[in-house]
């Protein structure tokens, strides 16, 4: 565990420069985007004089470095500011919305894992059979199907026709945990197809590689039962692959959530960041970016820690 501890410390030390670089890049990109928030803030019938007044009032007439420096200084003091447009505190916006997105992401990951891993194992252990071909084809389809399209189909069938699930909306997991899961089922299902497909393919190929390796052949030659070979030795060796894929999918699911949240009217951070970026709402975009960067870094760290527990060579090499 000594190696793991050092790795965790190294990663945590990287956190602050990564956050500064990430927020700087996001700030620069939003700054470079065409459009002027002062125009939006001034309203539909504003005069040019009013727009100039607003630029001065909000500091939009300040140079890029001054604006970024001001934001960074406040962020270092745990003040993420307020939305330019709704005047809501950014920290409150994120704290209200992040649980919805996290629920969707973890739920989708869970659904993806409980379907993708068994399918991958099934395909690998039945390599070359019709079942393997069917699963592989389905996995390819799963990668290709757009989340939003699937979401609309699910709503049409399961919500509007059969009335099994609500078509839109979300419930706070803190107020009504079961209700929250019920509301999140359809969007999580729409999000999970890619996870299922990717996990199926990756688990299949990793397991095939392991099962055809020298040590497995030796174990079989020693007379170990096929089930024991698979469960004790085969899957243990692909666990690291599964974890890595799950970690990557976790990060990717945040971007997929942007569209799925819109289809299902889920008030998560995905819709928040897209809406805010389009309106050049700097404080909100920066705040969400900061939180997502921290989340991604911690998830990657967690994956690495778990990997290094499964395989101590990982800690030594990272």
């Amino acid at each position: 565990m000594h190696g793991v501890g050092k790795m965790v410390l190294r990663r945590l030390a990287q956190l602050i420069p990564v956050m500064i670089i990430a927020t700087f890049v996001v700030f620069a990109l939003v700054f470079l985007m065409p459009g002027d928030p002062a125009v939006t803030l001034a309203g539909e019938f504003a005069t040019e004089a009013r727009i100039n007044e607003i630029r001065a009032l909000y500091g939009f007439d300040q140079p890029f470095w001054v604006q970024y420096g001001h934001w960074l200084w406040n962020a270092l003091h745990f003040d993420l500011g307020r939305s330019l447009f709704s005047n809501e505190e950014v920290s409150r916006l994120i704290s209200m919305r992040l649980p919805h997105t996290l629920l969707l992401v973890f739920y989708a990951l869970f659904l993806g894992a409980i379907t993708g891993i068994p399918l991958g194992i099934l395909a690998a252990t039945r390599q070359g059979t019709r079942l393997d071909k069917a699963i592989t084809s389905l996995a390819s389809l799963g990668v290709a199907v757009p989340n939003f399209w699937l979401g609309i189909i699910l709503v049409s069938a399961l919500a509007l026709d059969w009335r099994l699930f609500p078509a839109t909306g979300a419930v706070s997991i803190f107020e009504d945990p079961l209700g929250a899961i019920y509301y999140a089922t359809l969007p999580a299902l729409a999000l999970s197809t890619n996870v299922t497909a990717v996990l199926t393919r990756q688990v299949r190929s990793a397991l095939l590689e392991v099962l055809s390796s020298q040590f497995i052949r030796t174990l079989r030659a020693k007379g170990l039962r096929p089930a024991a070979v698979l469960w004790r030795h085969g899957l243990r060796n692909v666990a690291a692959t599964m974890l890595t894929i799950a970690g990557l999918q976790f990060n990717l699911l945040f971007s997929s959530a942007v569209i799925v949240e819109s289809v299902f009217a889920v008030p998560g951070v995905g819709s928040l960041i897209s809406y805010s970026a389009l309106n050049k709402d700097f404080p909100v975009v920066q705040g969400v970016a900061l939180v997502l960067v921290v989340l991604v870094i911690f998830v990657n760290l967690l994956v690495d820690v778990l990997n290094s527990i499964l395989d101590p060579r990982v800690a030594a090499s990272t």
Partner: protein, 525 residues
């Protein structure tokens, strides 16, 4: 049962549009009415669930900025002056009557016994506070609306006198809009920096409970509403913000909402297939046009501008783009609106031959290229493509650059790039304002910042004429001036589109798309 209604009854029934002849007590005309008046007796109770696509910019009326803010504002705030949903005829509200003592002095007599949601009294002092705040608060977006106000004085406990630098017949209509929405002075004084964007306290039919940004606004019944005790009928309102229109419409079809507002023609057509949904498209003051920069380039030539107007087949445009739910027009108002004259709407018939002849006369026998800006969303690009195609038939080629709406304002109206910008606009509470905000040299939408000879005199005449018939004539003249000089390229009036369940009674979206919910009720049988 499904119902698609295009309402065109936009003429005021009385001639009190401008004058405060409406001395009648407010309560009488606040009774339920509108396009969907039901014979059944209104019932008390229930929470109306509304889906709407836009998060309000602010719940402070004077710092907000977008028309969809009014989905919520009139539930929270009563304005000094009210208006008829369908005609914009001004009506008493918090001011029970108003009178022009002289052309530059407006006297408001206020309702007695009105309380704000925080149980502080509404009176002349509160009105003075609110109007002064509109003028002085750094974040106020109504400064230009009140720009001509010289002095605001409480001339009695329930009387306010407003003195203007110059006559402004549009002032009562302005007081029916953002600037006239009354906020509790105590709530402003108690707020940090006077910022009440998220803590609205008005005297309207519903009190504020919570606003989860871009998600949900919850309001509850104001038990001490001055038009009570019966009104409002509803126990509360839940306004869900759902940016995607199809998703918003689905909340009604799936039974998760009672009404969905600000939809597009596509959702109306889909809703028509459902037996238990009422789909409504009502006349709107919003219209689609192309703003011209007529200070330079090819559009400085009247003949080119007129050629463009003759080259458009407006009937086809609105049929294709709005699925027939709108109204083809050359004007800035619906044709039945009281300020729209008899000759403006159809002034430019589709006449490609005439368009070609005018282009040739202007020195462009081989056609002309127009640098055009357009919004980048799918519907806007489709509109641009069809308009471009129609204009190309007579040799007018659009060189299109897609730009985001906020960027379009910067690029076209401030940086003065491009010859024209395709955009929807409108929704003004007073017809003079509709012209002033688009064609005056000070208007952001007038990219060239010039006024043609004769425009200023006509505009000022509409602002300084107080007799209804005379003012109507002046507005007709101004409208014709704009049309004859082809100062823009109007295409069609939009429609206020909403869907609802049959349980929702007496809901009208209104010509300004600024619904009031105080007389809406739910049939809970």
């Amino acid at each position: 049962m499904h119902k698609v209604i295009f309402d065109t009854s936009l003429r005021p029934t009385r001639r009190s549009i401008l004058m405060g002849a409406a001395a009648a007590a407010g309560a009488g005309m606040m009774l339920p009415g509108g396009a969907f008046a039901q014979e059944a007796t209104p019932q008390r109770g229930g929470t109306l669930r509304v889906s709407m696509p836009y998060n309000p910019a602010s719940l402070d009326p004077i710092t907000g900025r977008n028309l969809p803010d009014f989905n919520t504002l009139y539930a929270l705030y009563d304005a000094l002056i009210g208006f008829d949903d369908e005609t914009l005829e001004l009506q008493p509200m918090l001011a029970k009557s108003w009178d022009w003592a002289d052309p530059s002095t407006l006297v408001l007599d206020l309702q007695d016994g009105v309380m704000f949601h925080d149980d502080t009294p509404f009176n002349a002092e509160a009105v003075v506070f609110n109007l002064r705040r509109g003028l002085d608060y750094a974040r106020s977006n109504v400064k230009s609306d009140l720009a001509g106000v010289q002095e605001i004085e409480a001339t009695g406990p329930l009387q306010v006198t407003i003195r203007l630098e110059a006559p402004n017949a549009a002032l009562p209509a302005i007081l029916s809009n953002r600037a006239g929405c009354m906020v509790s002075p105590a709530s402003v004084q108690a707020a940090e920096d006077g910022n009440i964007d998220r803590a609205p306290v008005g005297a309207g039919p519903f009190r504020f409970i919570e606003w989860r940004d871009n998600d949900l606004i919850r309001l509850e019944r104001n038990e001490s509403y001055w038009q009570g005790p019966e009104l409002p009928y509803l126990d509360g309102l839940e306004l869900r913000i759902i940016n995607e229109l199809n998703t918003a419409a689905r909340t009604v079809t799936s039974g998760q909402a009672d009404v969905a507002l600000q939809l597009a023609a596509q959702q109306i057509m889909v809703a028509r297939r459902s037996d238990n949904i009422i789909a409504t498209a009502t006349t709107s003051m919003t219209y689609y046009t192309a703003f011209f920069n007529y200070a330079r380039g090819p559009l400085a030539d009247l003949k080119v501008r007129q050629a463009m107007n003759y080259a458009l087949n407006r009937a086809d445009l609105q049929q294709v783009l709005l699925m027939g739910l709108g109204e083809a027009t050359c004007s800035v108002f619906p044709r039945e609106f009281w300020a729209s004259g008899p000759d403006a709407a159809d002034y430019y018939p589709y006449d490609p031959e005439r368009a070609r002849a005018l282009l040739a006369e202007a020195g462009y026998p081989d056609g002309v290229e127009i640098a055009t800006l357009s919004w980048p969303d799918q519907a806007a690009m489709q509109r641009t493509e069809i308009i471009g195609n129609q204009l190309a038939q007579v040799g007018i080629r659009l060189n299109v650059t897609p730009v985001q709406p906020a960027q379009a304002i910067q690029v076209f109206m401030i940086d003065q790039q491009g010859d024209m910008l395709l955009s929807p606009t409108g929704g003004n509470p007073d017809p003079s304002l509709a012209f002033d905000r688009q064609f005056s040299a000070t208007a952001l939408r007038n990219a060239g910042k010039i006024e043609l000879d004769g425009y200023r005199e006509l505009l000022e005449a509409t602002m300084s004429t107080y007799d209804f018939d005379e003012r109507q004539q002046k507005l007709f003249e101004l409208e014709m001036f704009v049309v004859e000089n082809a100062l823009h390229l109007p295409q069609y009036m939009s429609a206020g589109m909403s869907i609802q369940t049959p349980q929702v009674k007496d809901f009208t979206f209104g010509i300004l798309a600024a619904p009031r919910f105080h007389t809406v009720w739910l049939d809970q049988a």
